[in-house]
């Protein structure tokens, strides 16, 4: 079907491009300016001196350690969520009876539990388990709170596998474990990708759990590092924005090399 060009929508899209683009330009522009020209000319000027000193200041403050910690947290959280959510969803989709239904409803309800609301008892639990001020103190609760969405997305994907395929597997004498590994997992690849992307972003974005559960510099994640940076370098805006920019580097790398997977993964979070 041929379509006329939609000029109105095009104009609106350009306005949105400005809203997205101007702050991003200001971010990059400020991060490469010396502090003196920033206070003179403001964030959106055309820079006449470009410097990488701000990035050096950030690196010298131990920022790489924070980025590394965030990567560890994200990877471990995704691993735990996959290991737990895939079997749960399998049970929910294949199970019959009120118990399975109850499990699914529990996770649906869990979708709404704001992590803030339970942070006080959670702090107590993490403390008693001896995980206070370790990365585990961040990983475990983050994984738990990523489970509801993951179960929803995964069970949604697994429900679209037709019954005949299960029956064929059963006729061939495959055990439930074998069915899971050779039928269910390959068939729900896109749901699994969505779970990975979504969970990793949650872990990446996490702020409250790190703030409450960790204390020492060695266990600081990027988001918290930025928060501390505000009080340490509050007046050095270019260095602060250089830190903001650097905090996005790992995910930018992912975006450049796996844009399709990242975008498709996020799209999948909407269900069908």
């Amino acid at each position: 079907m041929r379509t006329r060009p939609n000029y109105l929508a095009g104009a609106a899209a350009l306005v949105w491009l400005l809203i997205i683009g101007v702050p991003l330009y200001a971010l990059v522009n400020t991060a490469v300016q010396p502090q003196t020209t920033y206070t003179d000319k403001g964030p959106v000027s055309i820079p006449d001196t470009v410097t990488l000193d701000n990035f050096r200041t950030v690196l010298d403050s131990g920022f790489l350690q924070y980025i590394w910690n965030t990567v560890v947290v994200a990877v471990a959280t995704v691993a735990i969520v996959l290991a737990l959510a895939v079997p749960i969803s399998y049970a929910v989709v294949r199970g019959r009876g009120w118990l399975t239904k109850g499990v699914f409803r529990l996770f649906l309800l869990g979708l709404a539990i704001p992590s803030q609301a339970v942070i006080i008892p959670l702090f107590l639990i993490i403390n008693n388990l001896g995980f206070y001020d370790t990365l585990w103190g961040i990983i475990l609760p983050t994984a738990a709170f990523a489970l509801p969405v993951s179960v929803l997305v995964l069970s949604g994907g697994m429900r679209d596998i037709s019954n005949e395929l299960y029956e064929a597997m059963a006729l061939d004498g495959a055990s439930p474990a074998r069915t899971l590994l050779t039928l269910v997992v390959p068939m729900s690849r896109s749901a699994i990708a969505t779970t990975c992307v979504f969970t990793a972003l949650q872990a990446w974005n996490g702020f409250l759990f790190p703030l409450i559960m960790t204390q020492s510099n060695d266990n600081k994640v990027v988001t918290l590092g930025l928060y501390n940076f505000v009080s340490e370098y509050g007046s050095n805006v270019p260095a602060l924005l250089a830190a903001v920019l650097m905090s996005a580097v790992p995910i930018l790398v992912v975006y450049l090399f796996a844009r399709r997977a990242l975008v498709a993964g996020l799209m999948g979070a909407g269900g069908k």
Binding site: A9, A13, L84, L106, Q116, D160, V244, A248, M267
Partner: protein, 282 residues
């Protein structure tokens, strides 16, 4: 059923038990050091007479509504637009995605500087932002909505983009034959077909809005004064700044109640609880 057991246990320990725990703690006095003292309904009677709590609830509600009212239309239009097959749309969509690469903390830190009345954008574009955009309560709420929109519209529009692509083409062809123009097609085909996505996207916005703690801490720090101290922020201050964990638990329980009510309502609307495949033709 055994397959669900490890995950279920994990979820019970780190999500459900704390949920029960926070309800229990809301009936105690606890400073975090000594054992919690059971004080009956003391926290709750204080809660219902606390004007700060009601202000926090109102601000939370205002922020929530502001976020939905601004983000939903923009995301729907942008998502449907990006779903078109044109090449230039794909290029622009790749740019529109960029804010998602920044964490909420990074976004808030960046905007805090950009909105600075002396050195930020207001110093150059005061016709747009005014002298000090975050100086008043309305202004600060508007800034929170602006920054939330900037960061999360890319995500919500992706959801709509995916859903809009899945709408069967035959519907549009039939409508075109019947003489329906672009606007009528949008209103009568696209919007109804996006219903489920609207609900999902709204759930994300509601839960996100009720828990927008980091953005408030980093952008307005609850200010001016306590004008943007939303419920999670008040709870955090009460618990981890003044060490009144019992009273903070009462605020947290209230937050929990609000979130659960919202989610029950929305999942009822969405039909998620019916547990059936939504694949076309099944």
């Amino acid at each position: 059923m055994a397959w669900a057991l490890p995950g279920l246990l994990f979820f019970l320990v780190f999500a459900v038990v704390p949920m029960v725990g926070v309800l229990y703690l809301s009936f105690t006095h606890w400073d975090g050091l000594n054992a919690p003292q059971f004080t009956g309904t003391e926290n709750w009677s204080r809660f219902f007479g606390d004007s700060q709590v009601w202000q926090s609830t109102l601000v939370t509600g205002a922020l929530l509504i502001g976020n939905i009212v601004v983000q939903a239309p923009v995301s729907i239009l942008l998502g449907v637009w990006a779903a078109g097959p044109q090449r230039n749309r794909a290029v622009l969509s790749a740019l529109f995605f960029l804010p998602l690469l920044l964490s909420t903390a990074a976004t808030a830190v960046m905007w805090r500087q950009l909105l600075d009345p002396n050195f930020g954008l207001p110093s150059k574009f005061d016709w747009l932002f005014g002298a000090d955009p975050m100086g008043t309560q309305q202004g600060a709420i508007a800034c929170l909505v602006l920054v939330t929109t900037w960061q999360f519209v890319p995500f919500h529009s992706l959801l709509y983009q995916g859903a809009a692509r899945a709408i069967p083409h035959t519907l549009y062809q039939a409508a075109a034959i019947d003489g329906a123009g672009r606007v009528r097609q949008f209103v009568h085909i696209t919007l109804p077909q996006l219903r489920n996505t609207m609900i999902t996207s709204t759930i994300f916005m509601v839960v996100g809005g009720l828990t927008a703690f980091d953005i408030v801490l980093l952008l307005t720090n609850g200010g001016p004064g306590t004008d943007t101290a939303i419920l999670p922020f008040s709870m955090y201050q009460t618990a981890f700044r003044t060490y009144d964990y019992g009273y903070a638990s009462a605020i947290a329980s209230f937050l929990l109640l609000l979130a659960t009510a919202a989610s029950v309502l929305l999942t009822k609307l969405s039909g998620y609880d019916k547990m059936t495949s939504t694949m076309e033709g099944l």
